[in-house]
Symmetry: C2
Subunit: 472 residues, 2 copies
């Protein structure tokens, strides 16, 4: 593929921040106070919630419309200055950093819910709308937006990183949730991908190409999302297991039997201990599944009973389940606070968060090998996972001032990423590549990486869109 080698070479020649000063001056003239250059603002916009060092942009512009985003990108394109999209800054792999400087386009003020179509189970939102904002808005419609990555992320950011979370086992990921997009391309042109039909076989799936492209192919400004009816009934509960293998076997059986489980989450013993401490639970400190079922009253009862039988047959259980909302809320609040519970194990430590995803048949092997690795290295690192998808997270508690500890943490993340890839999985199930996982892309994708580079070069020949992310 000679043309792909050429593409790779061109990507290296990022034009960086030439001409950025004049550009910032023009942006200030146009946007007034909505264009900021204070150190605090810039630092905040390069900040990521994980361990990757902050690289602030040259300026931050708060856009309010797709047309404004287009205007800004056109100026950046003319000056060949990088553009970094910013939603809520809750991404985990350095996605919002500006390694070559440039303009951070903050879409948080683009937070209008433009349309809800209950008959079509879809809605149209601006990129800065957050998932909690959307679900509050939808509450009285009988509909909800299921994708839940934990953080109250912007929908635009969730599209960009192909987010998923606890409900993905039933409702899919952002790949499945996005129906159509409005995107500002690297030349500033405004493009609409997809339509409102539930399916189409008319042409290349540009929508899916943009989902997960992390701002490297364009800036997502409006999203048409698929919604779901709020379930009539919900039940949920916790189920202890003697070991990780048995818990994973229960997950496999559950999915093979076609139980439409809405959430099925694994916490390892250490994570259970952390949650007991932090959220005042009294769970047995053993590998534990948190489950939730959605359906009719009879349906959730049937599902709960079937899961109970599966767990018991495999030597797990008892499965304690409840349909009472307050009890479920208490449990799932604990699950959602797993990050803070983990941190409470060593309050003065920082956290390196990472995630991988493997075929579910390899999940127990991968979790066990990872737990062994954690023990051998003497790390403090609870494991929690969306195991119905074969996806799990490790939080490595690290003192970021201790260079040796940081190195050991990074080495652990590298071993974990390669272990997942070697098992036929991926170095990131839902956090994205950003800066943190770029170095694994070749191992994971082989020469398909050349195709990604060719597409990047075709759509963004000057490499101004979020340079230094995804592609090595």
């Amino acid at each position: 593929m000679p043309e792909l080698a050429g593409a790779a070479q061109t990507l290296e020649n990022s034009t960086g921040s030439a001409g950025v000063e004049g550009l910032v001056s023009t942006l200030k003239d146009s946007f007034g106070e909505r264009c900021g250059t204070s150190a605090a603002l810039r630092e905040q916009h390069g900040h990521t919630t994980t361990w990757i060092e902050t690289q602030p942009p040259d300026a931050v512009v708060f856009a309010q419309t797709t047309q404004e985003v287009s205007d800004i990108v056109k100026l950046c394109a003319a000056a060949k200055v990088p553009v970094i999209p910013f939603g809520t800054g809750t991404s985990l792999e350095g996605h919002v950093n500006a390694p070559h400087g440039g303009i951070s386009i903050d879409v948080s003020q683009m937070n209008r819910i433009l349309d809800v179509h209950p008959e079509d189970l879809d809605c149209v939102v601006e990129a800065g709308v957050t998932r909690k904002q959307l679900n509050s808005y939808l509450r009285d419609t009988g509909l909800f937006f299921p994708i839940d990555p934990g953080a109250d992320a912007s929908i635009g950011g969730m599209v960009a990183t192909r987010a998923s979370g606890t409900n993905a086992v039933r409702y899919g990921t952002m790949k499945d949730a996005v129906v159509a997009l409005t995107i500002v391309m690297p030349d500033g042109s405004i493009v609409h991908t997809g339509g409102r039909a539930k399916k189409s076989s008319a042409g290349y799936d540009l929508t899916r190409l943009m989902v997960g492209s992390e701002g490297t192919l364009g800036i997502i400004t409006e999203i048409t999302l698929r919604l779901h009816g709020q379930p009539e009934a919900i039940s949920g509960g916790v189920c202890p297991f003697p070991d990780v293998q048995t818990a994973c076997n229960a997950v496999i059986s559950t999915i093979q039997m076609g139980l439409p489980v809405a959430r099925i989450e694994l916490l390892d013993s250490l994570q259970v201990r952390a949650c007991n401490n932090y959220s005042k639970l009294d769970l047995a400190e053993t590998p534990t599944l948190f489950l939730e079922f959605h359906g009719s009253e009879a349906g959730v009862k049937e599902q709960s009973e079937m899961f109970s039988a599966i767990a018991e047959e495999l030597g797990g259980g008892p499965f304690k389940w409840a349909t009472a909302a307050e009890e479920r809320t208490r449990l799932w609040t604990a699950r959602h606070d797993a990050y803070w519970a983990g941190k409470s194990l060593k309050p003065d430590a920082d956290i390196m968060v990472t995630d991988v995803c493997v075929p579910i048949s390899r999940l127990a092997d991968c979790v066990q090998a990872t737990a062994d690795d954690i023990q051998a290295e003497g790390l403090l690192a609870p494991i929690v996972g969306h195991v119905g998808d074969g996806n799990f997270h490790v939080q490595v508690l690290v003192d970021m001032d201790d260079a040796d500890a940081v190195r050991r943490g990074k080495d652990f993340v590298e071993r974990l990423s390669l272990r997942a890839i070697d098992m036929g999985g991926t170095c990131s199930g839902e956090h994205g590549v950003g800066q943190g996982k770029r170095k694994y892309m070749e191992r994971e994708h082989g020469n398909a990486l050349g195709l990604m580079k060719a597409i990047k070069l075709a759509l963004d020949p000057d490499n101004i869109m979020n340079p230094g992310k995804i592609l090595p």
Copy 2:
């Protein structure tokens, strides 16, 4: 977008079949009897099951491995001769025609099922495996592959056209069914996209870009498919409605309530009459829904009762449902024979088949406007649709020797396509673009078409991969 205008221009300059004679001679030397040039073989490989005129390739090569496909494509690339992938030839929009000549690569001998992973609910197949072959193979595993486009298409062809069918309302389309692909690119290189993890956020979604690309970006040779557990119980039945609007309202309510209906198909009065005649049914000749529910014994009973109540409340029904396999089989055989039933209305006629898809809220409007159009034009054209997705088909019965009738049929298809697009839908829900729907691509996609052309140009700069399809 100056670079996109350039892309469009280059696509016009297809290099056609220069050098094809020497190439065919080389292929005959290498492949012996597996490279054929007889008129009958070539005609059959340009043949489409619809009204578009046959344009045969210069030669047909039966490939048996990915490496052979790669070898053939490398030769074609060197000679700048078009490559047209061929599975079973059941596509409907001229996908396998060779308007610029070239080599048809027939993958029907690549029909091995390479792997089934019951724990991961996936399998790996070669492109020439057909869906019925796969399901026969899977029968004893408790798993099945749900996507059902009617014809016993090859899996490779189903990926290429982003096929779906009656089960898509519950199980999704090929977009959702494909986990990973092996593809021979336009330069002959072999690329693997995706992995076996159920989800990933590591890089551009090349898999989804290839699904629906109709052989214009590469030839799909191996596919990893998501499978599903065979449902414990199935129930199904038919429900008459006084008019199309009421039937569509019942569909909308069913989906809004989250009933996980597995199939929900609309037949208009004429189609019901045709099925009564052809399949010896005695249904009332009024708009009718055919339904199927999958789940536990209790679940399908509950779903059937809930649908019954919905239909009754809206003025439809009675919904007659049964769990007995023979009764269901009789009904669904009739549904699957709808094409032949339609043809039986005028046995000496040919059929122009077309499909569109609209947001479900516009479905009744679109079906009604189309029925009015059929009546005003005096066409004989039954309607049948996967209405849970907003997708429907029209079979226009036409005497292809009557130029005026053909023109009126084509004009009708054009009005239908534009009507669907103008309602926020698409000119093809599941048949693809091929040659037949190229002219609607600009209307449907606007300047997003420029992105498609840029991607095509980046990956296939000499435009050798199935030229003259999708992109106008």
